[in-house]
Every structure is written in structure tokens, then in C-alpha cells.
């Protein structure tokens, strides 16, 4: 039943560019990108206990990868967007051996430092347009009228794809190993879980999905600059959306994104106040509802199939 509903919802969402206006399509794309980003961040953080404060580095890297693949290799943008995710994943594979020397809170902040290094290096590179940025040379790959809808469908693919990925992983034995590691590393090791390999896999998958979502976002803007690409705002949004929605829950990113966009659009006339409200809401949620909005349903429908969130 849930599956039929989910497929129906995806079909309705996919048809949106045919009946909505440009503003709605753009907002829909933004929401879907945020869902994909939060889902991708939730995989290592919520299910694996591998929390990063540097995923904005992957957002920016994915964006720049798209621009370079399109400009230097003449690749079609719709091919370059998924490939940008692959580039980001490969990058993550290479930095993991260094950053995995840090654990827990140190890993989280270490990732932030890695994102800062990326931002500084990119803004100093003439090949990447320096601090002023790059235009998207692949903008002519598509007719102008199709740009918005294409970005939207790419974002929908990313959001549905990451959700399916997390869903499938968590039903597999791999998901079981991942959660075992989060809940008790010593016990998990004792039954033969290999911590390094399991963490590396979710980290690389998460980076790849984040890179692809980032590429989608910067595809629609037709221009990229280091300040926008490596903006701390990305990680702030990702963390708060996931926290408010529910860490380690499949529906968390959707609920959190709904909350985030309602707040942002509702307070659009009041400058930075939506960020203040968002931060305060995240803090309040952690105090009174540690499982996020997604855990509200548990309070009314006791279920034996769901795993408990707070050990």
C-alpha cells in the first residue's frame, strides 16, 4: 500500500513541470535537492554515527565537476551531472584515509576543515575561474525552455534515488552491520563487522550523492563561484533539515525539508531571522523530541518493526 502511494506521489511530482509555472518548478527543484542532500548526509550520520560538518565541500565539488566536465570535455550536461557525483565519490575515497584518522566529533570538524581547503584552493585556481567563478558552457546543450524542467527532473531523480538507496541499504545485511557499528562498535567488531570498510562505503556513497545533488543545483544557476559553491549555508541546511525531520529515519529528510521551506518562505521578508528560528527549532527538537518530527508517528502507533533511535 505504501509502495503504491509512493509510486503515485513520484509520478505526480514528475508531471509537475507540465502544469506548474517557472517559479514553482524552481522551488520544487530546490526542495528536492535539499531532500537528496539531507538523505545523503543522513546515511553516514543517522544510520552510521559518522557525522560530517563538511558536506558543503562535496556540494561545491560536485558543482565544479559538472562545469569542468562540460567545458573541458564537452560532455552533455545531463551526462555530466551523474558523472559529477562519481568524481565527488572518487575524491571522497582519496581523502577518507586521512580523515578517518579522526573519530566522532573530531571527524565532524575535520571534514569542515577539508571543505575549507577545497574552497580556498578553488578560489585560487585560474583554471577554475578563481574567486569570480565560471559560467556553465554546457548551457547551450539544451533548449532554454527545457533548462528548468531538466534541473527539476534531475533533482527528482537525485531525491528518489538517494531515498531508494538508503531504503535498500537499510533492508540489507549491510544496513544491519552499519547500525550495529553505530550502536556498539566493540560488539559489532566481535561478531565480525569490519568498521573501516563499512564506514568507507557509506562515506563514499554519501559523497557521491551529495556531489550529484550539488551539480544539479548549480546546473540550474548556470554560474558557479567558490563562495556560493562552498557556502556553509549548505551544511547548515542539511544538518538542520535532517535533525528536525529525524536523524536516522527515511522520512526525516522529507519532513525536515517541508519544515525548512515553510519557515524560509514564511519569513522571507525578515532577513536572517529564518536561520535564527531554524537553529532554535533544531535545538528545541533535540531537547524535547530527539527522534525528530518523524518520531511523532511512533508516539501514536507503537511498532515493533522500527528500530529504536536513542539507545
Amino acid at each position: 500500500m505504501t509502495r503504491i502511494l509512493a509510486i503515485g506521489a513520484v509520478l505526480i511530482l514528475a508531471s509537475l513541470p507540465f502544469w506548474a509555472d517557472r517559479g514553482v518548478i524552481f522551488l520544487g527543484m530546490e526542495i528536492l535537492v535539499v531532500v537528496a542532500l539531507a538523505q545523503a548526509w543522513n546515511l553516514p550520520a543517522g544510520y552510521g554515527g559518522l557525522l560530517s560538518l563538511g558536506h558543503h565541500g562535496f556540494v561545491g565539488l560536485g558543482g565544479y565537476a559538472l562545469y569542468v566536465l562540460s567545458r573541458d570535455l564537452g560532455m552533455h550536461v545531463l551526462v555530466a551531472i551523474p558523472l559529477a557525483g562519481v568524481v565527488t565519490a572518487i575524491f571522497a575515497l582519496f581523502i577518507a584515509p586521512i580523515l578517518f584518522r579522526l573519530r566522532e566529533v573530531y571527524f565532524a570538524v575535520g571534514m569542515w576543515v577539508a571543505a575549507e581547503i577545497l574552497r580556498i584552493l578553488v578560489s585560487r585556481s585560474d583554471w577554475l575561474g578563481g574567486a569570480s567563478g565560471l559560467p556553465l558552457s554546457g548551457a547551450r546543450d539544451l533548449p532554454r525552455a527545457w533548462m528548468g524542467p531538466s534541473a527539476y527532473w534531475m533533482a527528482l531523480t537525485a531525491a528518489v534515488g538517494t531515498t531508494l538507496l538508503v531504503w535498500a541499504l537499510m533492508r540489507s545485511s549491510f544496513g544491519l552491520r552499519l547500525r550495529a557499528l553505530r550502536d556498539d562498535e566493540a560488539a559489532a567488531r566481535a561478531i565480525g563487522v569490519k568498521p573501516h570498510r563499512v564506514r568507507l562505503i557509506v562515506f563514499v556513497l554519501s559523497a557521491g550523492a551529495t556531489g550529484m545533488a550539488g551539480a544539479t543545483m548549480f546546473f540550474s544557476s548556470l554560474f558557479i563561484s567558490p563562495l556560493a559553491a562552498f557556502d556553509m549555508g549548505w551544511i547548515v541546511t542539511i544538518v538542520f533539515v535532517t535533525l528536525i525531520g529525524g536523524l536516522g529515519r527515511l522520512s526525516g529528510p522529507f519532513l525536515g525539508a517541508a519544515f525548512y521551506f515553510l519557515l524560509r518562505e514564511g519569513l522571507a521578508d525578515y532577513g536572517n531571522w529564518y536561520l535564527i528560528a531554524l537553529g532554535a527549532a533544531a535545538m528545541a527538537i533535540m531537547l524535547v523530541l530527539p527522534g525528530g518530527l518523524a518520531s511523532l508517528s511512533d508516539r501514536f502507533t507503537p511498532s515493533f518493526t522500527k528500530t529504536k533511535e536513542q539507545p
Binding site: 544538518v239 532577513g271 536561520l275 535564527i276 537553529g279
Partner: protein
């Protein structure tokens, strides 16, 4: 000669960096958590000092102790009202909680003070310098360095020679057991958070006296504090001093060779240390 001057300037800047790291290191040492809002506490303290000194017109000699007291009270209250409630075996909830706080404080500062550069005016002291041989050294950087060293010394002494310090070390070793000895660990944590916030505010004010700050300066301060404690080695306050001095020297030399580099070489130093000596320059404890 220019290199000796650069080296000394790096050391003096390193004293300030060490102070940023000290507050964070205390928190981690006692509670095993990270305070992501550490940078915002520093910058928030500095902005409050700017408001008090520039707008109300209070002299700095009065402003600084008032801000330090307020910061201490803020840290204490924060720990008692918020952080203690999410403290447990998992270090992530406090990290996320302070991340939320950092965004709230940063954006409140933007709303209150705007995004412009601001600084704390210290008058003639800011430009005074003394001549040693061919090198000229600023009086104020020297003063800051002396204050930083004195604070490290005072903290070391009080950790080992006072009842407060003994309680603190005991709580750091085993927070469960100290409860049985009649120590309320939540109060100990709150005292440490207060001290850490005061140290953050002090280093933030020094930063604003030395140069200028914006509401967005907090993130970079946190990263510096973090690098100081990882480079120096976790688990000892002297590690923070060494980490601060090394990072200060690397920053100043990096800026001399490559003026547009900003904090890049400090960040890269962190990666090099992680590859070559993950336990830090002075640390024995494994990073966790």
C-alpha cells in the same frame, strides 16, 4: 632579520591561537564533547565589548572584566539549561546542539550589528612598539602573549593545587565515580563551560583589539581552535600551547610567502600532522 621578526610575530600570534584552543580543549578534556559555538562565543563576546565600549562609552578596563563575567555566566547557564540534558555516551547530540547555537548567535549578531568589519579601539597601545636590536616588536602583541602564557600557567597550577582542580581532573577521569564522592558532575561541567566561554570571550576581545572582526569570523576561529588542539595533541593543556605556537608560526610564514593564502597553510598543516603524527605533537592519547 626579516625572518626573525616573522618568526617572533608568529609566536606572538600563536599565543592568541593557543588561548582559542585552550577553551575548547578544556571542554573536550572534561566532557569529551566539542563546542561548535566556541568561535561564536569568542566573536559574540567581542561584539558585546564593542557595544559596551563604543556605544555606552565605558572604559576598556571596566568593559573587559564585565564581558568576562557575562561570558562565564552564559557558559554556566548554557551548560545547566541545555548541554547537560543531552550529555550521554554519544558525543553527537551536544555537537549538534552547539552547532544550532552557533548559527543562532551568528545570525543574531548579523541582525544586531550588521555584517561590517568592527574592532575594539585600544588607543596608543595598539601602535606602540619597542626596538630590540634591529627588530621592532609591538607592545600589544607582547602583552597578549604574556597574558596567554600567564593563563596557561594559572590553569595548570589550579588544576594541580586546588580543590576545584582536583574535582575537575577526577570528573574528567570518571564522571560516574565522582558522583559517589559527593561531587555534582553537572556543576563541574557548568563551571568548565563557564571558564571555557570566558576564555573564548577573552581571546575574541583580543582578536578585535588586534584587528577587525565580522559576525562571520566565528567559524574560522573554531577551526583554528580545533587545529590547535589536534596539532598539539589531545588531552593536555600544554599540547594546546604548543599547537597554538606552531599554528601561529605557520600562518605568519605562509602569509609572508604567499600573501593571499589566508588560513590555507594552517589547514594543510592539520592534514600533514594527521598523516604523519595523528596523536599530535605533544600527545600520547589516541584521538577518538
Amino acid at each position: 632579520m626579516i625572518w626573525i621578526e616573522t618568526l617572533i610575530n608568529g609566536l606572538l600570534l600563536g599565543g592568541l591561537y593557543a588561548l582559542f584552543g585552550l577553551g575548547l580543549s578544556l571542554i573536550f578534556g572534561v566532557m569529551k564533547i566539542a563546542n561548535i559555538a566556541h568561535g561564536e562565543m569568542a566573536i559574540g563576546g567581542a561584539f558585546l565589548a564593542i557595544a559596551t565600549a563604543n556605544f555606552i562609552g565605558l572604559p576598556l578596563v571596566l568593559t573587559v572584566p564585565i564581558i568576562l563575567l557575562m561570558a562565564w555566566g552564559f557558559g554556566f547557564a548554557l551548560q545547566m539549561a541545555v548541554i547537560n540534558r543531552v550529555l550521554g555516551s554519544d558525543p553527537m547530540p551536544p555537537l549538534l546542539m552547539t552547532f544550532g547555537l552557533s548559527i543562532v548567535v551568528q545570525n543574531l549578531l548579523v541582525e544586531m550589528f550588521g555584517a561590517d568589519n568592527r574592532s575594539l579601539d585600544i588607543g596608543a597601545l595598539g601602535t606602540a612598539s619597542i626596538q630590540i636590536g634591529n627588530t621592532s616588536l609591538g607592545v600589544f602583541p607582547l602583552l597578549m602573549f604574556a597574558i596567554a602564557l600567564a593563563l596557561f600557567g594559572a590553569l595548570h597550577w589550579s588544576l594541580h593545587h586546588t580543590r576545584w582542580g582536583r574535582n575537575l581532573r577526577a570528573t574528567s577521569d570518571d564522571p560516574e565515580i565522582v558522583g559517589m564522592m559527593g561531587i555534582d558532575r553537572r556543576r563541574v561541567f557548568a563551571m568548565v563551560m563557564g571558564l571555557s566561554a570566558a576564555l573564548a570571550a577573552l581571546s575574541g576581545m583580543m582578536l578585535a583589539m588586534r584587528g577587525s572582526i565580522t559576525p562571520f569570523s566565528g567559524g574560522e576561529r573554531l577551526l583554528i581552535a580545533f587545529e590547535v588542539i589536534v596539532i598539539g595533541g589531545l588531552g593536555s593543556i600544554w599540547g594546546s600551547l604548543i599547537g597554538g605556537l606552531v599554528l601561529g608560526i605557520v600562518h605568519v610564514i605562509g602569509l609572508r610567502l604567499d600573501p593571499a593564502s589566508g588560513p590555507l597553510y594552517g589547514h594543510l598543516l592539520l592534514l600533514v600532522i594527521l598523516l604523519a603524527k595523528p596523536e599530535g605533537l605533544a600527545g600520547k592519547a589516541r584521538s577518538r
